[in-house]
């Protein structure tokens, strides 16, 4: 008896799974119909002083910055107060299946002139990201996630000419600090979110693509100035707008 029941249950679940699968497929198919969220992030107030970085410890690094001295990158303000490196993501309103979609592009975290480019790297949960090095000196990459989240810290070095390191994060976390112990000033962030996300460019503007119609809460995260949220409603085709303004401390 029980055997037969379990058999029946099994068939049912498979059917369900197939159904869900096809649904989500349909979503992908009419991705054209999806909306997007765009806007700008600005700083209100005088930009804080970004202290210079003395790289004399490693001659290779200091040579790389001989012409333009390196500065800290915690708050970078572009033209008309646009804030760079702010990560925007949808904190509420996404259904599980929508959140589960992976963006196609693979985020790349490069080590260049003993600095991280980009300084902040946003990615989706479980999405593969790549760590590369363009330097002729060895770095070690040492992300230190919060142990509570279930993300596992790692620490590996990348000598010149070593192949890229490809990794994923298994849990949502805003944000994971990344550092290089060999060059203590090297510091960056991994921002791991569910669903679509965007990072502001030097003018502070951004666009989150691939947002299905609906109303959401968008969160903007800045490493120094904290987070802000805004409610937006996305209609098919028309991009919704959400601007943010951080007050400088």
């Amino acid at each position: 008896m029980t055997k037969r029941y379990s058999m029946f249950a099994a068939i049912l679940t498979t059917l369900l799974l197939v159904g869900v699968g096809t649904l989500s497929l349909n979503k992908k198919v009419n991705a054209a119909g999806e909306g997007s969220i765009t806007g700008t992030v600005k700083l209100n107030g005088t930009p804080p002083h970004m202290r210079g970085i003395d790289m004399s410890k490693d001659p290779y690094c200091s040579k790389a910055h001989a012409s333009d001295p390196a500065k800290m990158e915690t708050v970078i303000v572009g033209k008309d107060q646009g804030l760079e490196n702010v990560v925007l993501y949808i904190s509420q309103g996404l259904s599980g299946s929508e959140a589960a979609q992976k963006p196609s592009s693979e985020p790349v975290f490069d080590q260049k002139g003993c600095m991280y480019t980009p300084h902040v790297l946003a990615m989706d949960v479980g999405q593969e990201y790549k760590v590369t090095t363009s330097d002729q000196t060895a770095h070690n990459i040492h992300p230190e996630p919060n142990p509570m989240t279930g993300n596992i810290p790692w620490n590996r070095s990348q000598p010149p000419g070593a192949p890229p390191i490809v990794q994923t994060w298994k849990a949502e976390e805003v944000a994971i600090p990344v550092k290089c112990n060999i060059h203590p000033w090297m510091h960056g962030w991994f921002v791991v979110v569910k669903g679509p996300y965007a990072t502001t460019d030097e003018s502070g503007s951004y666009t989150i693509h691939g947002v299905p119609p609906g109303s959401y809460t968008v969160t903007a995260w800045q490493e120094e100035l904290g987070t802000q949220t805004a409610k937006v409603t996305v209609a098919a085709g028309a991009p919704a707008k959400a601007d943010f303004t951080f007050k400088s401390k």
């Binding site: 070690n140 230190e144 620490n155 590996r156 070095s157 000598p159 010149p160 000419g161 192949p163 550092k179």
Partner: protein, 593 residues
């Protein structure tokens, strides 16, 4: 524990493969097992050193296939700094513990100590068996750390605190790797303690009729002295390892100080003493070095005597010197810590006994060298390696002059000078002792002779090669080239890279030469020509029994000893020597008494 004596009283040779060859109670089989373990370990250690040398010679060169050894450690065959350090740590640990301690002490000692004192077996065969198998397990545990998450520890064989206790945040291998290392070494200590227990009781209680202490061969003396050192040293290292494991796993703070911020994270420990680990470790660590070399002294003297066909100028002095070395080795350990932040006055206090150690060492060398005068030296692989041992011992010893002085140590500490020093005096010399012992005793252990020609080729290559590798280390050190660097980014080290390449090439060739030895060993084991009872015309007890000896060593009867060892250069019915067991009376050439 106690019924084992009873067991060895009614001696029956075991039947059945397991009891005979695997879990054997026979000291001879256990000795061979130790030898095999040491051989495997030595090969592993040598391969590791090759990889290190290649990396040092040609930085960031792709070593094809290296990524198979460790995917993360050598992505695409390029060795990462952490992997270099992991290889270095494992090389040191394997060589010091599983080769230099097991081969001359545990392997040869197990096989020949009971025979040389005229006993049937060790008093506690079960402990003896345990001692091997515990050591074996500890080796497996150590090697297994290659296969855990981020590889073995990179802390060096000294495993300084607090690097050994703060965990994975301090770097790859500092998580599971360290724990496995500590467990492995703690187990190793247990194994060697059990071994020392057997060695000491054998020498004290199981000497046969007529075998007074002064009639013990020098090798037996060396093993006895070594086991006394081992008993003291390993009994201190084990607690230290336990403390370190607790610090690492249970969050205690024996060695980890308060307010440490590793990689921007404040550590939870409080108030531990960093120097405490160094004191405990080096209290073991320095005697350990002598545990590696003293058996060599004994073996070499034994072999030289047999091949010189005359007595040493004085056997007693050699014994006293070995004893003096053993005692002094506990008073000098602080010379590893001159610049460690220890009280500068204690640095001075430690430097004088260290300098004094050169006196017994020098006397040993003088006795050896000047005893050669007027001898009828027989040149064979064994005696060659024994003589090579002397040369190496001297070369490595004189550099001790420098390191014994705190003021000079300011300049040379932690440079390649140290590496050259301890490799010559401890590693190479001890290895030569092992080789000499192998060529000398192989007939007795296996019943077959080793190939003499191959042996001599192997010797000359090893001798020249060893110097080519380790002499340049001293020069590097004098320039100030710091050891334990994965690659040389300092401007001034760039002109030294050719030297490193030379060393690397020499290391590869010399290493390859060891293949001859392994081949010779394996070939002779099965197809070598049969050995007689006493191929070298030796006098000590091991030559008065068949090769290989029967299960109870002397075939039921018990040897009676009539002479001091080494009655060479006399007229007797047998030739120019008298066995210890022969009652024949001869005029001893020059008696010491």
């Amino acid at each position: 524990m106690h019924d084992i004596t009873a067991h060895s009283l009614q001696h029956h040779a075991p039947t059945g493969f397991i009891r005979k060859h695997v879990f054997s109670l026979d000291h001879k089989v256990i000795g061979k097992q130790y030898y095999a373990l040491a051989l495997v370990a030595a090969i592993c250690g040598m391969i590791l050193s090759w990889l290190m040398r290649i990396h040092l010679g040609w930085n960031n060169a792709r070593i094809p296939g290296l990524q198979l050894l460790s995917k993360n450690g050598a992505p695409g065959g390029v060795m990462t700094p952490e992997f270099y350090l992991q290889l270095m740590t494992m090389h040191g640990t394997i060589m010091v513990f599983f080769v230099l301690t097991t081969a001359p002490f545990a392997a040869f000692g197990n096989f020949f100590l009971p025979i040389q004192v005229g006993a049937e077996d060790m008093p506690f065969p079960r402990f003896n068996m345990m001692s091997f198998w515990v050591t074996f397990v500890s080796f497996i545990v150590l090697m297994s750390s290659f296969f855990v998450a981020d590889g073995p520890t990179l802390g060096g064989w000294t495993q300084y605190a607090p690097l050994n206790a703060v965990g994975a945040i301090a770097g790859p291998g500092q998580g599971m790797g360290v724990v496995l290392w500590m467990i492995s070494i703690a187990l190793f200590c247990v194994g060697q303690l059990l071994g020392s227990l057997n060695f000491i009781t054998t020498t004290l209680d199981l000497r046969t009729k007529g075998m007074s202490f002064m009639r013990l061969p020098l090798s037996a003396w060396a093993w006895f002295i070594t086991s006394c050192m081992g008993l003291t040293a390993f009994a201190v290292l084990m607690p230290a390892c336990i403390l370190a494991i607790l610090d690492h796993v249970a969050g205690t703070s024996f060695f980890v100080a308060s307010n440490l911020v590793v990689s921007d994270q404040l550590q939870p420990h409080s108030g531990g003493s960093t120097l405490l680990w160094q004191h405990l470790f080096w209290f073991f660590g320095h005697p350990e070095v002598y545990i590696a070399i003293v058996p060599g002294l004994g073996i070499v003297s034994h072999i030289l005597l047999t091949n010189m066909r005359k007595q040493m100028l004085s056997q007693r002095v050699l014994i006293y010197c070995m004893g003096a070395l053993a005692v002094l080795s506990y008073m000098v350990y602080g010379h590893h810590m001159f610049v460690s932040g220890m009280n500068p006055y204690s640095s001075l206090a430690f430097s004088f006994p260290t300098l004094i150690i050169t006196i017994p060492a020098t006397i040993v060398v003088l006795i050896w060298t000047f005893s050669l005068y007027g001898s009828k030296l027989r040149i064979n692989s064994a005696s060659l390696f024994a003589l090579g041992f002397i040369s190496m011992f001297v070369s490595g010893g004189v550099s001790g002059f420098f390191l014994a002085q705190p003021s000079i140590d300011i300049m040379l500490h932690a440079t390649y000078f140290v590496v050259g020093h301890f490799h010559l005096v401890m590693a190479v010399a001890a290895m030569f002792g092992i080789f000499a012992g192998t060529y000398f005793w192989f007939p007795k252990m296996s019943g077959r002779m080793m190939n003499e020609k191959l042996g001599q080729v192997h010797f000359i290559l090893s001798f020249v090669g060893a110097y080519c590798i380790f002499m340049p280390f001293h020069y590097l050190g004098m320039v100030g080239n710091v050891r334990r660097y994965a690659s040389f980014v300092d401007d001034f080290t760039v002109p030294l890279i050719p030297v490193h390449r030379f060393i690397t090439i020499a290391a590869l060739i010399t290493g390859a030469a060891q293949v001859i030895f392994v081949y010779n060993l394996v070939y002779s084991r099965f197809w070598g020509k049969l050995a007689t009872e006493n191929p070298w015309e030796g006098t000590s007890l091991e030559w008065s029994t068949t090769s290989p000896p029967p299960f109870d060593n002397f075939g039921g009867k018990h040897p009676v000893v009539y002479h001091d060892p080494y009655q060479y250069g006399v007229e007797s019915s047998t030739g120019d020597y008298v066995m210890q067991t022969s009652p024949e009376q001869v005029a001893t050439p020059r008696d010491e008494k």
